[in-house]
Every structure is written in C-alpha cells, then in structure tokens.
Symmetry: C2
Subunit: 455 residues, 2 copies
C-alpha cells in the first residue's frame, strides 16, 4: 500500500504541468508565430545556397552559413566539427528514353534521376527491359531472363497506408538493394519506380548501395507517370531502353557538423542534443528534407534564448552533415561525444518535413513513455496529439550504440504530403508553409523546455 | 449500485467498436485512397465549371453537374430543391490606388476585391484615407474626423492563435459591419485589410451587410501587403485614395440545393443529413471553400454505396446553395424538412477545407459527446484525434431551430493553411492535396458508418 502510494505521488509529480509551464509555452508560441525567424532562415538556406549534397561547394556554404547564424544568435560553444564524407556528383548528362520494338511509335522521353552513389553508363547504354513488381520477384527470377537486360523495379508505394513512412519503408529495398540483386543476375542496369506517392512527372532520387565482388551497374529512378507508361508499353510488347548518365564518385571530402549550445545552469555536463541534417540531395532545395528540420531546431534554441530561458541541462543543437548518403555526421558525432566523456542524456531529431506538427515519438526504454505522455495535457491545446512509441531519427540513431538506454525522440509532423516532395526537384522553399514551419519550431522548443525540467 | 451497473453496461455497449466495424472502416479507407473519385470530381467542379457565386450561370452549371453526378452513382431520391437566392455581380471594373499628398511619389496600385454585396462607386471615387485598427476604434471616432473620407480598417488576424478560425472570428466584424459603422459617421467608402493570415498580394473577399436607413457606401478588401504599405504611407503623411468599382446587386434569382440518399433499412423515415455548400465566391475556384466539402460528402456516400453498405437510418447528402451570401440554402432546407414532417436526427457538415483530417466537433446536447468520443479508439489509427465540443456548420445550423436538441457535427481538418486561400484568387484546385482530400472523404464516410449504428 505504501509502495503504491509512493508510486502514485511520483506519477502525480511527473505528470504535473504547472501554470508557469503553460505560460512559458504560450510565450514560445508567440515568439515563433509573431516574431519568428524560421521562414526567412529557411529561405536563405534554400534560395541563397540551394541543394547541399555532402562534398559539394554548396554543402560547405551551408556549413559556413550555419556557423555564422549560430554566432549571430550569441549561442554558447558554437563549433564546426570536422568529419569525412563521401563525394558523389550527378555530372552533366542524365538522359533516358524507351521505344517499343517493331512499332511505329515515337520515342518516349523519361523523367529520370540517377540514384545517389550510382556509377555512370560510360556512354549510351541500350538494352531490353524486364519488369518486376518487387525485389523478391527479381530475386526469384532466372539468370537467363535477366542477363544483358535493364531491370525495371516497379513497386508502387501503398497509398492505403495512413502513415506514409510505412509505405515508404515497404518499398525502400527496391532502391537500396535493386542494383545488387539485378547485377547478381547479369543485368546491365536497374531503373526503379520513384519512391513517391503522387502520380506525377517528378523523379525521386535517394541512396543505393553496391556490394563487394558484385559488379556495379548504373541505377536510376523514373517518375511515377513514366513508370506507369513503361509498364503499359511492356504489357503491349518488347521495349528497348536507352540510358546515359555521367554521374560518379570522387575521393572522400572533408566536411563538418555545426553545433551550438545553451549551457545548463545545474547540470552543464549533461547534454540534450537536438538536430536535423544540413545536407540534402542535389535536386530541389532540400526544403522539407531536411532544411525544415535544422531550421526547426535552430529556431527552437533562438526562441528559448530570446525569452531568457536558462536550461537546467545543456541544450545542444547539431546540424548533422551527410545523413543522405552515409550518415557520417551522426556516426562521428556519437563517437566524438563518447571520446570526450560527454554525458548525453536525451536527443531529439526533426527529419520528417516542415508540415503541421502532430506530436512526438519515443525510441527508447518504456520508462520514458510516461514522461512523454505527461506532456500531452499542456500541448494538446496546441494541436499536438501524438505521444507514443516511435522513431527518433537517422542522425541521432548512433547515440543509442554508445549511450545504451538513452531516450531518442522524433518530432512527428503530419506525414501526408511528405512523399510528394521527398528527394525530388519539387522539394523547394515554396513547398513549405510558413505557419506550419513556425508551429514545428514552437512545438520543438516547448518539448525541449518540458524535457529539460522533467528529466 | 444497480443503477450504476446499468449505466456501466450501457456505456460499455455505447463505446464498443467491434472487429466488424474496424474491418468496414479499413475497407472505406482503401476505397477512398486506392479507387477514389474525389480528386477527379473536384477537378471537374473547379476546372470545368469554376467559381460558383449564387445567381451566376456557373452556380447553375454546378447544380446540373451535381444532379447528373448523383444520378450517375445510382443514389436514391436524387433531387433539386428550388430556392430563392440573392444575385450580386462584381462587374468589369475594379481598380484602386493611392498617392501620398504633397510628395513626388509614384502612384501605389492596389490588389483589391469588392466585398460581396457592395454597391459600386458610380465612377471614380476619390477621398482622403483615415485608418482604424478595429471596429471599436471606428465606433469611438468623431464624425468630423471621418466625414467625407475613406475609412481603412486595418485589423490583422492574430497569427498567435493556434486555431486559425478563432483569429478569423475576431476580425470578422470589420468585414461584416465596417460599411455600416463607417457610413454612420459620413464616410464615402470603407476598405478593409483582407481577412487572411499570410502577408501576400491576394485580396480576400467575403460577405458584408448594409442596414436600413443608413446610406450604402462601397466596401472592398485590400491584400495584406497593400494594407501594410498603406498603413506605412499614412504614418508618413496624408494619403489620397482612388477607388472605382461597378459591382452591383441584381433581382433575386432561382437556384437549387441538390440532394440524394441512401435509404435506411430499419428507420427510413429518420434522416441523417451530411453536406457542404456548392456555391463559392466569384474569385478563385472555390476549391477549399467549399468544393472540398461537397466532394467529401459526395465521395463518402459513393464509397458506402460502392461497398454495398446498407444504413439503418436514411443518409442524405445535401449540396447547399448560397452559404456565402445569405444562407438561403440552409434556411430553406430546414423549413422544407419540417414542412414535410421529416425526422432529422443528426447532421454533419464539411466546410473547413480539404486539408488533412483531425477529427470532428459537436454542436449539440452533452449526451452526444460520449457518443462522439466513443469513435476515437477505432479512428485514432487513422490520425484522427479531435473528438470534442465544437461547431457544426453554417448550412446545417438552421436545423437546430426547427429540430431542438439535434446533434450537429462539424468535420475538422487541419486549419493552418485555410486562411491562405479562403475567399481569395488562390483558392484553386491545385491548392488541394489529393491525398488530404481523399482522407477527408474516408473520415466522413467512417463517421457516418459509425453514427448510423450508434444512434
């Protein structure tokens, strides 16, 4: 009975949100919505710099911009952390079309993007196409049917999934492993249906990989309209595919994570890391992925600082480099924290776009779930309803390996439009709504404010 | 104790969602997301017809289109209900600019829309401008300061409000009552800051009114960028304003509500009405307001019919005419239902845009709140979290007067982007996301499915 009583009191204290807290959160939202910097900062990142693939000149411009920006806000301990990153470039030629054999049909020109990391074609590559719906179908195919051909992996994302990330996850293998599996059966190249939900003319790029001792073959993604057209053409008869790309890998480059802090008043050596990734794919402007995420976290720290808030623990914002094709930023950050004897006590990532906030997910021990859920009563009136087990983020993921039991939190915005833009030329500044972006920054600032107190 | 027990059992039954229900709801979402008609139907309404102000040729084209569409889905009792509506036209001249007095500054041309119902200027109207921040400030002004001038009501919507409809409601009076209050003090015309959240060049029109024995003066809305510029110019000195509009009122016209049913199997004489409004303002394409709402309800009925569902009560979809400037559709529908001795047992409206669904609000007796909340467990996994007291809708509102105690439900989508488009030229088909629209239709179909069973 006594034990139950203590538990009750503990759980009561844990779930107590004071009037003081409510006031602070209201001030955070006012600052974000009435005097926010988020939209203008995202404009600078997207329009003055543009896409920011690891190893590119623009990625380094973004590093410098971030460093200057963090200094301009007078944060503590502004720092560039040197890391090594891969360096792949799309090149200047990227062209593809197909033609039905034995038919007086015009050539069908395609909207296509090389997958990140792909080798080039070394001139024009021409071959017959063979279509598979899934990677499993390809794996089950006979070598004689695939050899010398271009493999077309045409798995649509499942529109019936309410959470679009689940639909993405289910198709991820055709992009990540398509080249390896097609090459095992002697294919000349692989083209995939873009991992995007709308039927439109925007191809979606993204990472792929090769494996030792398996010949590298070119890999590219077709717009969903083109994937449908190619599939229909294949129903009608044989199709010849023409592909030319001069993308290639360069030697590894030096780049940086960029970070800054608000020093903790009571436990300055205990660190809460919040961040997103500064790099992006080289198409579009990396606005939702993940310009919005780094701007969210930057703006959250700016707001808290502007309001004169002093955290108990140290809050560190990190702009990670190289999430898209290697996660070197995330990996090297975790290693560096451990090597420096840092106490990392929690982390949050924003890497799901700048859409209207829905809540937060927890990747970590169950004991933190009740902590997370205790935030709901005060945040519900800000249209936040999701406080549940979930995913943290790619960049903060490696912290789990070096700090077992650390709670990782993921900011959860509405996911419905994310795969309209993800890794596509349409992921530009204009696709981010000012107000939705600002609400994201306010939600994260409020979360950090509460987390710092309750941890 | 026994009474409590009965209550408990009752409340248990009420909140029971069976596995059967879950299955039906999954089938509803599959139909909406994989085989939906909503996006193509909205395209037809917005692109083949366009804006649909009461009394216009396009409004009647929309009536005919709706009637044909409902017949094509083989609904029961497809019907046009004749009603009388106002008929106002914008005309062909709508032009405004201002000039600072005694300064060698260029003329500032304005983005402006006459408010719906406004009289024209009868040639070029020229006058000095006087600015007020609120309607109360205007009411407190002296006649000598206002007489002969153009009143500029420059009240910004409060961006700090999380629910944008609250910010809209707080500014509504400058649009609805500005002309009356300005005229009382002898003003020549009134121009208001558009009721929109973004700072951009899109003016937002909307309804206004005149009062008996108070001289009618022209009324218009400025884009928010222009309102800011005009306010800055007034800070610097006197400003002359030039306004020419040839909008005018015509005699009342005949129009129609359009409706169809799925007949109830057990209680065919008990009717659940669901709907939105078919009319729109004459700028843009009325895509979110309220093309999305009528398409939501049409699609909900189509889905339920397509799946072979037979309701217990009769489900009637109504496309109301004239919500924007008179609500004659809503008023005459309620009167007609009563006159025909109909039993209206509940109603739902969708008139907050085609954005990602958040839930449902109840305007009605408290006893229905637990019913509404009992839907949450099964709908939560469809990203629906709002099940609370709220507002039904303008069109279904009059049902309350003739059926006291009737529960009115409002579909609640995310409100963050609504006032980017509301009553503005930007409210076009392209501003509605296909998937978000489809999710709205599925949410409403699921709600109707549950409501029919639990009522």
């Amino acid at each position: 009975m006594k034990y139950t009583g203590i538990l009750f009191v503990f759980s009561f204290l844990l779930t107590q949100i004071s009037a003081q807290d409510s006031l602070w959160i209201r001030r955070i939202y006012d600052e974000a919505l009435l005097r926010g910097h988020a939209h203008e900062n995202l404009r600078q990142l997207c329009k003055d710099i543009g896409p920011r693939l690891s190893g590119s000149a623009q990625a380094q411009m973004a590093v410098d911009w971030s460093y200057e920006k963090m200094n301009s806000y007078h944060f503590d301990a502004v720092k560039k952390q040197e890391i090594t990153v891969p360096h792949w470039e799309r090149g200047t030629t990227e062209s593809a079309w197909y033609k039905s054999i034995n038919k007086y049909e015009p050539v069908h020109k395609l909207h296509l993007l090389a997958l990140g990391g792909s080798i080039g074609t070394n001139g024009l590559l021409e071959a017959e196409v063979i279509e598979f719906k899934t990677l499993t179908d390809l794996k089950n195919a006979k070598r004689k049917d695939v050899e010398g051909k271009i493999v077309f992996l045409n798995q649509p994302m499942d529109a019936a999934q309410i959470q679009t990330f689940k639909a993405y996850g289910a198709c991820y293998a055709i992009r990540g492993n398509g080249a390896v599996e097609a090459s095992k059966l002697g294919a000349k190249a692989v083209v995939i249906r873009s991992l995007g939900l709308p039927i439109d003319a925007h191809p979606h790029t993204g990472s792929m990989h090769y494996e030792k001792d398996i010949p590298k073959i070119p890999a590219a993604a077709l717009a969903t309209t083109d994937a449908d057209a190619l599939s229909a053409a294949l129903q009608a008869g044989k199709v010849h595919f023409y592909l030319e790309m001069d993308c290639r890998e360069f030697p590894d480059a030096t780049s940086h994570n960029v970070m800054a802090e608000l020093k903790g008043s009571k436990f300055p050596d205990q660190i809460i890391t919040i961040g997103g990734h500064l790099d992006s794919w080289d198409t579009g402007e990396g606005a939702h992925d993940d310009g919005a995420g780094v701007i969210h976290c930057l703006e959250a720290l700016r707001i808290l600082n502007e309001l004169g808030w002093q955290p108990t623990h140290t809050i560190r914002v990190v702009f990670f480099m190289n999430e898209e094709n290697g996660n070197q930023g995330g990996k090297q950050y975790a290693t560096w924290c451990l090597a420096n004897g840092e106490k990392q006590i929690a982390a949050l990532e924003s890497d799901r776009g700048g859409f209207a906030p829905r809540g937060f997910g927890l990747d970590g021990p169950d004991q933190y779930l009740s902590l997370l859920q205790s935030f709901e009563p005060v945040l519900r009136s800000y249209d936040l309803h999701v406080f549940e087990k979930g995913y943290g983020g790619v960049d903060i993921g490696p912290l789990k390996d070096v700090y077992p039991g650390i709670p990782l939190f993921g900011f959860v915005p509405d996911s419905q439009r994310y795969f309209d833009y993800h890794h596509a030329p349409s992921d530009v500044f204009e696709s981010v709504n000012k107000r939705e972006l600002e609400l994201g920054a306010a939600a994260i600032a409020s979360f950090v404010y509460l987390l710092d107190q309750k941890l």
